[in-house]
């Protein structure tokens, strides 16, 4: 009888430890991992498939990712075909019913925001177009706020027992976030209408938010690495009508922007693009602090 009691206690302990087990969140990009950590707090364990130095369009369906996605309770990705080269394969190989398309555990962030750059004509002669629009939605903090609410909603659906915690975390985050946005928008007020050159069309949501004007891309077509011919064409364009700044993300090769910068005298800078994209940008708030700071020092002549 005593042994039976012991066994019962042991079983209860095992069971309760299982119940208290953290939710596994599999994020495709670091910004969504950071957001899930903010909303989930101690209740979630987050992994990101990519880091800031990796191009999320080009990573491979590595075995380690299959093992991770197998255990995921929630998948948070940008969507809009950004991860099309590896996520469909991970979803099939990982064989996890909880995160298949259509389940609450499958969250494609770009689905919930106003998307830009939706091609009216789909033709790969125009480069690697995303039929659902530009997937790099995280460069506008208003989009992050929208996705935060969806993440909270999904966590509540998956883990109703802790619904109040998620709601509270969301409320706290949104309060701070909206306050921060006001600050960023004030600091960036003079950036409106400034002309920039970008490496790849990674920044359309940032441009849309701050009113920056993209006059050229270093890639001749999306997904085609910068070529000599295209760069010399850009050089001619910049000589007659110079832009103010050349920007690129951490995973993009610095050579092309350094070359154009050297030839034209237009400053080139790396913007963090996502959490971890620079030494300072180690959370979502600092990501935008740093982005706005870099843009202001290069573009705001009033400062």
């Amino acid at each position: 009888m005593k042994n039976l009691l012991k066994l019962l206690i042991l079983l209860t302990a095992v069971f309760s430890s299982l119940v208290q087990a953290k939710l596994n969140v599999f994020a495709c990009e670091p910004e969504w991992a950071a957001l899930a950590e903010v909303i989930g707090g101690d209740l979630v364990k987050t992994t990101s498939a990519t880091n800031a130095l990796q191009d999320p369009h080009y990573i491979q369906a590595r075995p380690s990712l299959i093992a991770k996605i197998r255990k995921a309770d929630l998948l948070v990705c940008s969507g809009s075909e950004l991860e099309i080269g590896w996520l469909p394969l991970l979803l099939r190989k990982g064989n996890n019913p909880k995160i298949q398309t259509g389940k609450p555990g499958n969250l494609m962030a770009s689905q919930f925001v106003r998307r830009l750059d939706i091609p009216t004509v789909l033709d790969r002669a125009q480069g690697d177009m995303h039929s659902q629009g530009n997937p790099h939605i995280q460069t506008n903090p208003h989009n992050i706020a929208i996705v935060a609410s969806v993440v909270a909603e999904r966590l509540q659906q998956i883990d109703p027992g802790n619904a109040d915690s998620y709601q509270q975390n969301l409320a706290e985050f949104l309060q701070q976030w909206n306050q921060a946005i006001t600050g960023w928008e004030q600091r960036a007020a003079n950036l409106r209408g400034q002309e920039i050159v970008v490496h790849h069309k990674s920044w359309v949501y940032l441009e849309d938010w701050l009113g920056l004007v993209e006059v050229a891309t270093l890639e001749s077509k999306p997904g085609i690495p910068p070529s000599g011919a295209h760069l010399s064409q850009l050089l001619a364009q910049m000589k007659t009508k110079p832009a103010k700044l050349i920007i690129r993300s951490p995973y993009q090769d610095a050579k092309a922007s350094a070359w154009l910068s050297e030839k034209t005298g237009i400053p080139a800078t790396l913007l963090p693009f996502t959490v971890g994209g620079s030494d300072n940008a180690n959370d979502l708030f600092k990501l935008f602090d740093e982005t706005i700071h870099l843009l202001v020092i290069h573009l705001d002549t009033a400062e």
Partner: protein, 465 residues
Amino acid sequence: MKHYTLQNFDLLKLIAFSLCLMAFTHPVIAEESLADIRAELDTIRSQYEQRIQALEQRLETAEQQLAEQSVSKAPAPAPPPVPEPTTRESTAGSYTSANNQYNPAIGIIIDGEIWSYGNDPAGRSIPGFAFGGESGLADEGLSIGESEFVFSGNVDNWFYGQITAAIEQEDGEFGIGLEEAFIETLSLPASITLRLGRFFSGVGYLNDKHKHTWDFADQALPYRAFMGSQYGDDGVQLRWLAPTDFFLEFGAEIFRGGSYPAGGNANSGFGSTSLFAHTGGDVGFSHSWTAGLSWLGADAAERESGDEDDPLLFTGSSDIYIADFVWKWAPNGNSRQQNFIFQAEYLWRNEDGKVLLPGAAISTPLDQDASGWYVQGTYQWMPRWRAGLRIDGLSADNPGMIYTGSILDPQGHDPRRYSLMLDYSNSEFSRLRIQYNRDETGLESDDQIGLQYIMSIGAHGSHAF
């Protein structure tokens, strides 16, 4: 609303009708009660009229609002002259989830090759080996290698389906070959996946990789010698993904046994069986690897190999063991700029049974061991450009005196081949390649040069590690 008034009308009719009925059946009704009923009827009528009026009002305001909206949505007067828009914006929520709207995703691979051989490829043979399946050399001169159509999609919440059809040319005649046609479960519990249909076996590393994903224009020697280039057949596959922090997967398969190294649908159409285990993981951000062990037991009944017009017939069992290892490096895991892939496999085979040699009257017993391997490295030193080096070899035991001078006699020769490859990818959808082989597989060595293009149109495929 129409429905509402109809009901209203019916109600009035009903009351009127019952009144009439009452009037007839009770001819003596007090004036008072009649007046009461009339009054009641009036109240009901006025109540309904009020409600109808209210509804009409609501309709009117709704129509007005709609009109106002369409006015505000109409193009602004004199829009600024903008270049033809190539993109548009979405409104949140107007999202479709796949690159196909209920049509299967369709991908087309166009593969073309030009080969130049020092010696006539038709007369080439490798002493000790009678190749089977589709393991011959590519046609000399210009040819379209193998054009593939891939259709895939989720069937429903339980199943995924895929069909790969290849248009091939053999002896000047075109035919459509069904390379793969399978369904796979998506939601079985306990991380079990069941695959049914025709597919490439999951043994080894290269076996289930489609030709357009190879890092060299041709298949490695051990796969050509033992697997008929790639072993694909009609069968069932069961895979289990272990709940470990690193990748660990086990699989088992049963096949019909219709193609090389099986043949003749032995054992009433359950001709071959396989078991495999794959594992893998990351080392830091920059390195990742996979390794595996596999066994394929194929039963053959009068399996043809060697010369197509005058084949050797084998009846017996072909047991193949494979060890595979792949190591990939990319600085910070960003393979777009630079990456290196090291890949090696070792295959060991025993064939036990009886053989009817070309031209022979009776079969002779055979128990022969053979092995094969390849080691290759592919290096992308800058975006778009890759170079690769591959060395592959075979070795077969002497099967005995009876086979002296036959195709199965290795004649003391160890076949070797050295390949150099250079390719250029304009985008992830196109690749141009040049390859040189120093082929020492036959008794006479040969220099081979191949040019290849691989183009992919349509659905954006995802490739396995």
